[in-house]
Assembly symmetry: C2
Homo-oligomer: 305 residues x 2
Amino acid sequence: MISKLAAKIKETSPIVVGLDPQLKFLPEPLLEASFKEFGENPEGVCDAIFNFNKRIVDAVCDLVPAVKPQIAMYEVFGIPGLIAFDKTVKYCKEKGLIVIGDIKRGDIGSTSGAYAQGHLGHVTIGGKDYRGFEEDFATVNPYLGSDGVKPFIDVCKAEDKGIFILVKTSNPSSGELQDRVSDGRPIYEWMGEMVAKWGEDCMDGDYSNVGAVVGATYPEMGKVLRKIMPKSFILVPGYGAQGGKGADLVHFFNDDGLGAIINSSRGIIAAYKEEKYAKFGAEHFEEASRAAVLDMKEDIASALG
Amino acid sequence: MISKLAAKIKETSPIVVGLDPQLKFLPEPLLEASFKEFGENPEGVCDAIFNFNKRIVDAVCDLVPAVKPQIAMYEVFGIPGLIAFDKTVKYCKEKGLIVIGDIKRGDIGSTSGAYAQGHLGHVTIGGKDYRGFEEDFATVNPYLGSDGVKPFIDVCKAEDKGIFILVKTSNPSSGELQDRVSDGRPIYEWMGEMVAKWGEDCMDGDYSNVGAVVGATYPEMGKVLRKIMPKSFILVPGYGAQGGKGADLVHFFNDDGLGAIINSSRGIIAAYKEEKYAKFGAEHFEEASRAAVLDMKEDIASALG
């Protein structure tokens, strides 16, 4: 799966659109149309979420290789939210996009196996295979060690899927645990070493189907981690709204111009709310998103120079 | 919420039943009845899962204070699975049980906030409140630090709910990260210190609504952690099938006989498959579960002396 992502990045850009549709991002006209049909309730909101995603995806799908729906923003609405998540994943795949499920799951062995099957694999009932959700990649939390990660790797191998393991997250307090020094090196470096080791067993072309998450907000750490995990793609959140800039991204890439994919969520999907893109208006929010992707593409290209 | 759990433990036992219904645990007759009604597919399996849970809950609800459904075992079946999870949570609450959602979520601030709202809190749409899922407690992964935990604590305070934060997990490889020594102490001790600190702000009677997860498989570490977090309840997985024994549990309790709640999943829900309880047969699986709870209660009581 990582070779497919690399090929699509070469054709388009190293940008992933974070489909994290909070209620406050939804344009009024869109929301009202759904409320009219389904009522002013979770079903109404979740219909609007799906329509919102669909219009953004239609507007940007020729510019980016992938989307990253954050499942929490759907799970918050319970079952109707997860139905919207499922429909979003399927719609993005119909449009030829690679889907990174930002699910940050991780548990003891048999339980991680269930998450891996449910999001990247399948279950077999009466000799027939069924897929729960249908992402191409999933993000994984490594707090439980190898036991919790290996079931994901097994499913990746069997189904040609991939994972991105949390190494150094973009949030302000990520250092409380991840920067603690042990045997002379911070925890995130040890995690990077583990990602590199897990990844050896799961190569797909020049890169491994086992990647890592490293925040754009920590570019110096990204530089070190890039070297520790040369064969791992880095999924980089934190660009834009969280403070990461184009110039910060240079060190996340390898010399082949690959090895990183940069996420932006609200900077793209809620672009119409920013002064810079206000001219598009709430009625044409997807055109603001397209303009924001084009600007981001230019920002990254000029930084990589 | 923790004071409610403590009161129910005094009335019954410090046992939580892990409702983790893997396909292989479901008795044939139950499965066949659901397949007849819904087809041999995820809908059929998930109907059987709910019926399985229901009969076990009916059989043990006077003996235990709480259940702990592991959401991965439902999520693996996609939407039908999550509908069965939701129905299970609601049914258990109807029967007066406290529900610990074993969801191990954790993300950056706004995203953790969405998980917290979705599982322990509510969303407001058009002035009306809606609940996604309706657990009383949730398990939380602390890899992202305070940012990822505090949104859960905020919801706990607003809604009188609780969390159990992963500190030292029961699985064999948990030490790869959690036992790493930093500043002279293992990571799990530092996490224990953080749980104690987070918990101060969230007291409910003698204990805090912020608890911890520490595996029965690591009793010596449990002993240390008990002292580091005197006001935190410890949710103890790993008893039974994972190898933890009654005698290992002593150190997880405080002198007041409280402070710990011991989980058993397959040892209770799949008891009918064990030689010891085989006499009940697949037709009366719930009676085997009841017998297993009674035996576990005795094992713990005799260990606590």
